[in-house]
Amino acid sequence: SQTIHQWPATLVQPVGSPLSLECTVEGTSNPNLYWYRQAAGRGLQLLFYSVGIGQISSEVPQNLSASRPQDRQFILSSKKLLLSDSGFYLCAYEGADTQYFGPGTRLTVL
């Protein structure tokens, strides 16, 4: 069976610091992978998706970036965090035309 992991679970970072959030999937090969952000009052927003290694599509302009260095690894990064980057970050993989979500990372930027 497939499982999806996100690391870390919570993170508190100062404004201007870098960011790296990791998502890994087990039990499936070359899945489509997705990053979403859930911010208070703004619902769930798709940030990036990837259909394969090195293939990244961005849905919204921002100071975040994503990379997929391995088949089942998806990384969300920033060089300099903004206050507005605070939120709950969710990674998802796609199987049988359905997205399955990880446990999320709570990011607080101070």
């Binding site: 996100q6 489509n32 997705y34 979403y36 619902g43 769930l44 798709l46 998706y49 259909v51 599509s57 849905e59 969710l90 998802a92 796609e94 035309d97 359905t98 997205q99 399955y100 979500f101 990880g102 446990p103 999320g104 709570r106």
Partner: protein, 115 residues
Amino acid sequence: AQSVTQPDIHITVSEGASLELRCNYSYGATPYLFWYVQSPGQGLQLLLKYFSGDTLVQGIKGFEAEFKRSQSSFNLRKPSVHWSDAAEYFCAVAPSSGSARQLTFGSGTQLTVLP
């Protein structure tokens, strides 16, 4: 552009009562439809989905949903709510074709269950 509307921000029901959460969508063609549930601080769990066929779909935890094409709706129902159903519920749509299926979510409905 596609959109999903969940008109009820917050619903309160008593334990054992029936539940219906509304979802309407705007889409060029019939999309794939989903309901997810989120407990505080947790990720989203899939309750059920509709791709085609029988318009009444059964999901986990005793939930069901009915697709009504004429009304562009996909309402979620449960005949008898349990206290553990208290959570936030999200309706979502995705294109039925393409190499990646980006989900568009509604704003969510927060469910409170009274003892």
